[in-house]
């Protein structure tokens, strides 16, 4: 009997690929709640987030042999979830986009202490109106507690761009949230 608790994600993936398909249930146990939360924040719809999460696990299983176990599994599966969610949004949903030139004047302060729970709740309400380009890094950073490096791997953008998008997203959020509150 294998003790999966002591195994890393990458080790479990190796077991699934080489020995036992059923070990994939361990991967699902570890990631389903995280991915449901992530896709729900992206799609703003819990039913669709379940479908997208399920598709993510299916796609991950089918392509599991392409995963390099020297790399981080978490970033790999989040990347698949990101792709699935983006495809879903472009197929089914109209995004509430802000005007391209929309910005907060430089002299105004950006949003601070977003880590606080009450601020995160406000953020959830506002995030719908932000273009996906900006909402994604914010969701990954504040809700999924991913580092800039991991966000860079998931979204396939340079770390500098991650930082820029998060800063810009904060400015947009401040403007939107202030209007709503």
């Amino acid at each position: 009997m294998i003790d999966y608790k002591s195994k890393t994600d990458e080790e479990i993936v190796s077991i699934v690929v080489e020995k036992d398909d059923n070990a994939y249930s361990q991967i699902i146990d570890r990631y389903q709640e995280k991915l449901l939360r992530y896709t729900k924040n992206l799609l703003q719809d819990k039913d669709n987030s379940s479908c997208v999460t399920q598709d993510t696990f299916i796609k991950a299983f089918i392509n599991l042999k392409s995963f390099d176990t020297q790399k981080k599994f978490s970033s790999w599966i989040y990347r698949i979830a990101h792709n699935e969610a983006i495809n879903f949004i472009f197929k089914h949903k109209k995004q509430e986009y802000l005007p391209e030139n929309f910005d907060v004047p430089e002299k105004e302060d950006i949003v601070e202490n977003l880590e606080k729970k009450e601020n995160l709740e406000i953020l959830k309400k506002c995030i719908k109106a932000i273009p996906i380009k900006y909402s994604e890094p914010i969701i990954l950073f504040y809700f999924e507690q991913k580092s800039y490096e991991e966000i860079s791997e998931i979204l396939r953008i340079p770390e500098g761009t991650v930082a820029t998008r998060i800063n810009r997203a904060k400015k947009i959020i401040k403007n939107i949230c202030q209007k709503k509150i």
Binding site: Y24, D29, L36, F57, F61, I62, K65, S66, R156, P158
Partner: protein, 192 residues
């Protein structure tokens, strides 16, 4: 979403997927599938890069064969220039960039830098191929641009010395012999 709902969703997702796996409705793709994918990606990238390089070298070749801009032959170049080649180059460059982005490490490089590196490398490659005489070897010995270059030399009003050096004999046999370098033409014999 309440904790209970999340748990129900979790259970359904897990049960559904594991059931499909056990019934063999879901199977992992074999490793060679991804290996073939990588080889095809590399092949696609090389093909688009080579196509761009050769078309750029061909464009460079045509511009030189047509004569210098200093002699105000711009009009002739514009009317006779095979503009479709520019479209082919643009498409192959765009395809090349799309393929490059398939590589895992590429996202770390800024898009503008990546685009600049790819464009400059391809342009320099095209100029190098033209100047090194590779394309002249291709015209004589066979190669991707042989037919197109020979047709172009035949159809257009190109310097006869240049035609002679490219072995288009039926049109230049009656001309006096010229000093063509091995594998190419002697620049001294060209009128520019």
């Amino acid at each position: 979403m309440s904790k209970e709902n999340i748990n129900n969703n979790d259970k359904n997702i897990k049960e559904d997927i594991m059931q499909k796996i056990n019934k063999k409705e879901l199977r992992m793709r074999p490793k060679f599938y991804f290996l073939i994918g990588s080889i095809m990606t590399l092949f696609g990238l090389l093909s688009t890069a080579i196509l761009s390089v050769f078309f750029i070298s061909f464009i460079n070749f045509i511009l030189r064969a047509k004569g210098p801009m200093a002699q105000m032959r711009v009009g002739q170049i514009i009317t006779n220039f095979p503009w479709w080649m520019i479209i082919v180059v643009a498409i192959s460059l765009w395809l090349g960039l799309k393929i490059i982005k398939k590589y895992d490490f590429i996202y770390k490089i800024d898009n503008k830098i990546l685009l600049s590196i790819f464009l400059i490398t391809t342009l320099l490659g095209g100029i190098f191929v033209d100047l090194s005489g590779f394309n002249r070897q291709f015209i004589k010995k066979g190669g991707p641009m042989r037919g197109a270059m020979q047709r172009y030399l035949k159809d257009e009003n190109i310097d006869n010395n240049l035609k002679k050096c490219f072995f288009i004999k039926q049109e230049t046999d009656n001309l006096p012999k010229i000093n063509c370098q091995e594998g190419g033409f002697n620049r001294k014999n060209m009128r520019y």
